[in-house]
């Protein structure tokens, strides 16, 4: 696996990663779905946070505070902006 860059971490990339841990198709994950209700548990959030922290500095607790893809994207977008990456 090649190393991700901040540019690679897009909303669609995140959707695909979430879908993968849930064994679902990406299109099944809507921006405002409660991911906990879809079966995302803390370990999966931990794994996602580790995966994504390769691109931006990210703590598990920052993701865990929220339960929708839209909220997660908002956090990542802020961090990308701090690194000067345009959305």
């Amino acid at each position: 696996m090649t190393k991700l860059t901040p540019q690679d971490l897009t909303l669609e990339r995140m959707r695909a990663d979430v879908a993968a841990v849930l064994h679902e198709a990406p299109e099944a994950i809507l921006d405002d779905d409660n991911l906990m209700d879809l079966g995302v548990d803390s370990l999966r959030v931990l794994n996602l946070s580790l995966q994504w922290s390769e691109t931006v500095s990210l703590e598990f607790s920052e993701l865990a505070e929220h339960v929708t893809l839209a909220e997660w994207w908002a956090i990542i977008r802020q961090k990308r902006a701090a690194l000067g990456v345009e959305s």
């Binding site: 995302v40 803390s42 999966r44 931990l46 607790s61 865990a64 929220h66």
Partner: protein, 1306 residues
């Protein structure tokens, strides 16, 4: 949002809030136990390297400000408690330099321990502390301790990570992330959730999931309430295990923490032996919450129920577990404390879940730039039971921590669980099914199979017959056997058993022939059993109390060659019957070449298929059992063993033979005596019994009887049902004897294990102990593998004592006697008992794995009762349960679906004809259908508790019935009086309660119908009638002669002459002890009737009595028979005078017995007694102890007391009472002026040997008036001679003398 998450608030942040639900539980627990430090959570970080102390201090102090929960203070205000923030409580860093100490590490550790072992008062003390111990220049320990009210484990990780983040930023690392959320956000979420629909929905979800949860089983018995400390065991799981864990999880598209949780649950289920695992799964509750970035106490422990089918593919089971975990998390916010309240699981021993399985993948040491750190957790809060915590990311780091409540687990047990779970996990990760995973470690398996069963002991290859014959030859003149007043020596026993054996041989009895024996307890019974053995056969005891139909069924099944019985019961014996009158009076014992593997006896027990099954035991089995017991308890020529157990119950086997193979004496109790505590106590005392057996329930009744007090014997053996620790302790308070708890089924020659339950034994429960010689007790799981140490399992027996099998039932034999998989060529018997081994190897009985129950020590297969219900044709379906709706009160209840023509009365009659009385259900409940669970199994929980009431019953009517009905209710703890037709035992009475009832009846009615009367007449109406019948006699019975007890009209009666009071009521107990064999008359003073003149003297009085006796004549007694006389105290003086008078008239006198009477000249010189003392004699007549009532010193006071006391005397008409007082006062005058005449017959004197310390009153004083003096000494005081304990000795002594006198006359 209705789930209360991320509630956007524009209000100013609150500075005060009620406690959250999570905090409330902890607060109450801490308040209940203010000295308990276990609510402090603590860890330390071991830091190596060049720590920048100022940067570290700044990071810690900033975190202390950001993490508001650390400065919480609780405030009690008007009964409520709130939490507020107190800046003074912020845990700013303290630095302690221990580098100067001899052992800096020890110094630091001790300081930390002191800190986290100091209980906190949350209303006063700061809840958190940060301390940095400087150990050396480049080595530090950073200790963080926080009360659980302020944070949970996840919060602790947030705190350390935040300190690291700030430190790293200060040291030039990346900028720190966002600060923690304010605690008010968490409070707002909590308030919103409490008011939300989501909470209502969660509550409904959990009630649905847990409402039908089974009784939660854990890994150790006991109450799960946290102690002040806990055991901690830590082990690292090897990388190959974590690699397999991740691989297996990935293959199943599962998360590895869920796999760990499922396998942890499987371990718990297996060890606890429960149908389901019900574990607690700590849940951090952070997802989608502000608390994801807020240290706070959020963590919840929801329950997880997993069935975990051990035979199904494990992968499937893991998926089911994972789905269950997902559902659990969805509803995980609902507090388990609240769920406990919802389900009514507060207090008591009922739990929501057993052990905890906690997986913490987040808990990694904080990363400080340029420093090496390791994290050590010291405490995470209360440990109610046992917690298995997996900490680490499994890549590859994973540790297993076992935290255990020291009140429930020893440190060794906690360590063993850690070792076993690690091995179980490693094996399960490779397994196809859970069933194939062993749980015991190889060392445990070896101990269970071998070390605990090292019982090899050389026992001679011989037979019971040979042992008996050797003893007969060894001491021919020693007493062998005593029944009543008859004793056989070993030589006589040899002769009589040889005679019968020769007759049996002549009828074809030889090796392997079965001979049924249906005789009541008697000399003949023992002779019969031994004769069968000497003829080479096996005896089959039949219980005469069983219904004829059952006896006939057993005889049909066993097809005995001969039946030794008094009569043909139910026509089943036919040609095989040989009655004692036909036993020969000569003949020698046949020579039989018997071998150890020959059948010795066959005992039938209840069979689950509906037919009783006959257990066939071989000689070598019972020889091992008997020789072991002889050696273990030092049985020998000095031993006198009581035989009181019915022969059809296998405990009787050692009772019958142990004394007789040891040169000792066998004391055979009269039939029915085994149920009568007073009679047993009398037997024990009279025959100086050394060893005897009790079923615990009967022991309990025995100890409750005053007659048992201070009995002294060598050994008392218990078996047949659980010996409770309470009973053991009561035993040692009452009786002086060793107490031994024995265990074994009929299928293994009576007993296979033993335990000394002495006064120093504190075991709870009392174990069944360790195996006897050449015997194995092994506890195996469902797949016949040895269980792990301390785990419950199926008790299997092996060794020489195993029965050959069930007579003529190879199918049943094959089912219960299985090949021993661990010892090829040997067999194991499946007991059906569930047992557990203690650390010391002693086995503890836990219960049954099937539907066998025991009631009063009698083994019952519920299937046999069910078969009988169906066989009646009155029910289509049935299930019989032994219910224990009140503790200690086990009753059989038959539930059924009626068939055409159903009638409960007819059904009960049909059952009584087929089953022994103890197997007839106490209640029958007809239902439209038997309830079933969702998977179609019988739902036992849904079966209603039976209502025990007088169905067709009228209420109690007569005054006596009403009192008895009330006393039934009082004894049985019922709110309503019993109905007139209610049966004491049906309502739940047992023999212990029966003793209590009898005491109440004695108190309230002043009458003692006797325990036997209750067994014979257990219904209110019957018992009342019995009491009234006696009362009637007394009420009408102010005449000279009253019949006190009814007996065989063919035997001459006994006349008991009144003592000083003129009444003969005091002879009730003695009279009852002599009946039903003999009629007893009381002789009373004519002066009781005030119309009659006072007698002139004793001689005149005696003459009047003789007139009455002789006038009685036929049919009341045969006038040609001898007249038997006895009297207590003054009654003896009058009896002597009456005997003289009878002799003068030429009438034969049989017995003339004085109970502690002394000649008149002993009294003539004495001062006249105080008239008040004479009055006080009335109290004794009424059954009171006069010395207890010193205040009663006037006629009026005594009469008022007697009337109020409801004694029979108090109910007498005024005139009769006057008569009594008159007689009492006159007696002294009569005695003092009396001059005895010599009596030419034999004078029997029963002396109260414990009395007369002050005066030398001896039987010898009668010598001038007695042609022959016969003295019986009993160890009692004068006033006690008519009481039950003395009666147990006196009645047989009188009876044997009356019989002898009658024989002399013939």
């Amino acid at each position: 949002m209705d789930d209360g998450r991320a509630a956007g608030s524009v209000r100013a942040p609150a500075t005060e809030a009620p406690l959250s639900e999570a905090q409330s539980g902890l607060w109450f627990a801490q308040r209940l136990d203010p000295a308990n430090p276990i609510f402090n959570t603590a860890h330390y970080v071991d830091i190596r390297g060049d720590l920048d102390i100022e940067a570290f201090r700044a990071a810690v102090d900033q975190t202390a400000v950001e993490a508001e929960a650390l400065s919480l203070r609780l405030v009690e205000r008007g009964g409520a408690v709130v939490q507020t923030l107190d800046p003074a409580h912020r845990p700013f860093l303290r630095i302690v330099d221990v580098s100067g100490a001899v052992d800096p590490a020890a110094e630091a550790m001790a300081a930390m321990r002191r800190d986290h072992e100091t209980p906190l008062d949350p209303t006063r003390d700061p809840l958190a502390a940060n301390i940095l111990f400087r150990m050396e220049a480049r080595r530090f320990l950073w200790s963080l301790r926080v009360h659980h009210l302020a944070t949970d484990g996840f919060g602790m990780a947030l705190l350390t990570n935040r300190v690291a983040e700030l430190y790293n930023a200060a040291r030039g690392g990346p900028a720190p992330g966002l600060a923690f959320n304010p605690i008010a956000k968490v409070w707002d979420e909590d308030a919103a959730y409490r008011a939300s629909d989501k909470r209502t929905a969660d509550a409904a979800y959990w009630r649905d999931i847990m409402g039908d949860a089974p009784e939660v089983a854990s890994l150790a018995p006991g109450k799960a309430t946290t102690a002040h400390r806990f055991h901690r065991i830590e082990r690292t799981l090897p990388p190959e295990v974590t690699a397999r864990l991740r691989a297996r999880a990935d293959a199943g598209r599962l998360s590895w923490p869920d796999v760990l949780t499922a396998i942890g649950a499987a371990y718990v289920r297996r060890f606890s032996g429960a149908e389901e695992a019900v574990i607690g799964v700590p849940w951090m509750g952070r997802m989608g919450s502000a608390s994801a970035r807020t240290p706070a106490m959020i963590m919840n422990v929801p329950p997880l129920r997993l069935t975990l089918d051990e035979d199904a593919p494990l992968d499937e089971q893991l998926i089911l577990a994972s789905k269950a975990l997902i559902r659990t998390r969805r509803h995980g916010r609902y507090r388990s404390e609240q769920l406990r309240r919802d389900l009514g699981l507060i207090g008591g021993a009922r739990r929501l879940y057993g052990p905890l399985v906690n997986v913490l993948p987040f808990d990694l040491p904080p990363r400080f730039a340029g420093l090496d750190t390791t994290l050590k957790v010291l405490g995470t809060g209360p440990v109610d039971d046992i917690s298995f915590t997996f900490r680490g990311d499994a890549d590859p780091a994973l540790t297993l921590e076992v935290d255990a409540n020291p009140d429930l687990y020893s440190l060794e047990e906690a360590a063993a669980h850690g070792e076993r779970l690690a091995a179980f996990l490693a094996n399960a990760l490779d397994a196809e099914t859970l069933g194939e995973v062993p749980i015991a470690t190889p060392e445990e398996a070896a101990r269970e199979l071998e070390a605990f069963n090292a019982t090899a002991y050389p026992v001679p290859d011989t037979t019971l017959t040979a042992l008996l014959e050797a003893a007969m030859k060894a001491t021919p003149d020693a007493p062998a056997l005593t029944f009543g007043e008859r004793t056989l020596t070993y030589a006589e026993l040899d002769r009589r058993t040889a005679q019968l054996a020769s007759a049996l041989a002549a009828r074809g009895v030889g090796r392997e022939a079965v001979v049924a024996v249906a005789l009541p307890r008697s000399l003949e019974l023992v002779i019969a059993l031994i004769a069968v053995l000497r003829a080479g056969g096996a005896y089959l005891p039949l219980d005469l109390e069983h219904p004829p139909e059952r006896i006939a069924a057993i005889v049909r099944a066993a097809d005995p060659t001969v039946v030794l019985a008094d009569q043909d019961i139910g026509g089943a014996f036919g040609e095989a019957l040989l009655t004692p009158v036909d036993w020969p009076l000569d003949g020698a014992s046949p020579v039989v070449d018997q071998a150890g593997e020959d059948a010795a006896y066959v005992i039938y027990t209840s069979g689950s298929t509906g037919e009783p099954k006959g257990v066939l035991v071989e000689h070598r089995a019972i020889v091992n059992r008997l020789l072991w017991m002889q050696a273990e308890y030092g049985i020998g020529a000095h031993s006198r063993i009581l035989q009181k157990t019915p022969a059809a119950f296998d405990v009787s086997v050692w009772e019958f033979f142990l004394a007789l193979i040891s040169g000792g004496e066998l004391v055979v109790a009269p039939p029915a005596a085994h149920r009568d505590p007073a009679a047993l106590a009398g037997l024990i005392r009279r025959h100086a019994v050394t060893d005897l057996h009790f079923v615990p329930s009967m022991l309990s009744a025995f100890l409750a009887d005053p007659a048992a007090k201070e009995i002294t014997v060598a050994h008392v053996f218990c078996s047949g049902e659980e010996l409770s620790a309470e009973l053991r302790d009561r035993f040692h308070q009452t009786v002086k004897a060793e107490l031994h708890n024995l265990y074994g089924p009929t299928e293994a020659a009576v007993d296979v294990s033993y335990w000394a339950a002495g006064p120093e034994d504190r075991s709870r429960p009392v174990p069944i102990g360790r195996p006897v010689w050449n015997t194995r007790l092994v506890i195996l799981d469902e797949r016949l593998r040895p269980v792990a140490h301390g785990m419950g399992g199926h008790l299997h027996l092996g060794g020489v004592q195993l029965a050959r099998g069930y007579l003529n039932r190879p199918d049943l034999t094959e089912d219960r006697f299985i090949p021993d998989p661990h010892h090829p060529g040997q067999r194991l018997y499946r007991t059906g008992d569930v047992a557990r081994r203690r650390a010391d190897g002693a086995v503890v009985y836990l219960g049954r794995s099937d539907h066998q129950v025991k009631i009063r020590g009698l083994r019952i297969e519920l299937g046999e009762i069910e078969a009988a219900v169906i066989a009646s044709g009155l029910a289509r379906e049935t299930v019989v349960l032994a219910r224990e709706d009140r503790p200690g009160e086990r009753r059989l209840v038959a539930y059924l679906v009626p068939a055409e023509g159903y009638d409960p009365v007819a059904l009960k009659a049909a059952l009584a004809a087929r089953l022994p009385d103890y197997m007839v259900p106490a209640a029958i409940v007809a239902l439209d259908a038997l309830p079933t669970t969702s998977n179609g199994k019988l739902d036992r929980k849904a079966l209603p508790a039976p209502v025990f009431e007088a169905a067709a019953g009228r209420a109690a009517q007569t005054p006596t019935e009403k009192i008895i009905a009330e006393l039934f209710a009082e004894t049985l703890g019922r709110a309503e009086p019993a109905g007139a037709d209610d049966d004491f035992f049906t309502l739940g009475g047992d023999s212990l309660l029966a003793v209590h009832l009898m005491m109440l009846i004695r108190e309230r009615l002043g009458r003692d119908p006797g325990l036997g009367a209750l067994f014979d007449r257990p219904r209110v109406v019957e018992l009342a009638a019995q009491i009234d019948a006696e009362a009637l006699d007394f009420d009408n019975g102010l005449g000279v002669l009253i019949r006190v007890a009814e007996g065989d009209p063919a035997l001459p009666p006994l006349f008991l002459i009144h003592p000083a009071g003129g009444l003969s009521w005091g002879y009730r107990t003695l009279a009852r002890a002599l009946s039903p064999r003999r009629t007893v008359w009381g002789v009373q003073s004519p002066a009781l009737d005030p119309k009659n003149a006072l007698p002139d003297g004793i001689e005149a009085l005696a003459s009047v009595y003789v007139d009455h006796i002789l006038a009685l004549g036929a049919p009341n007694f045969q006038p040609m028979g001898p007249v038997h006389l006895a009297g207590w105290s003054v009654g003896g003086v009058i009896a002597q005078a009456a005997a003289v008078e009878l002799e003068r008239r030429g009438v034969e006198v049989g017995l003339m017995a004085m109970l502690d009477s002394y000649p008149a000249e002993c009294w003539r010189a004495e001062p006249e007694p105080d008239p008040v003392d004479a009055l006080r004699a009335l109290l004794a007549i009424a059954g009171y102890d006069p010395t207890q009532y010193p205040e009663l010193r006037s006629r009026a006071a005594i009469l008022a007391f007697l009337k109020a006391g409801d004694s029979a005397l108090g109910g007498l008409p005024e005139a009769a009472l006057d008569g009594v007082i008159r007689v009492v006062l006159d007696t002294n005058r009569l005695v003092r002026k009396h001059h005895h005449q010599p009596f030419g017959g034999r004078t029997t004197h029963v002396r109260a040997a414990l009395d007369h310390k002050e005066r030398d009153l001896t039987p010898g004083l009668w010598r001038p008036y007695a042609a022959e003096l016969d003295v019986v000494e009993v160890p009692f005081l004068h006033p006690q001679l008519t009481g039950p304990a003395a009666t147990a000795l006196i009645a047989p002594a009188l009876d044997v003398r009356m019989t002898a006198a009658e024989e002399k006359m013939r």
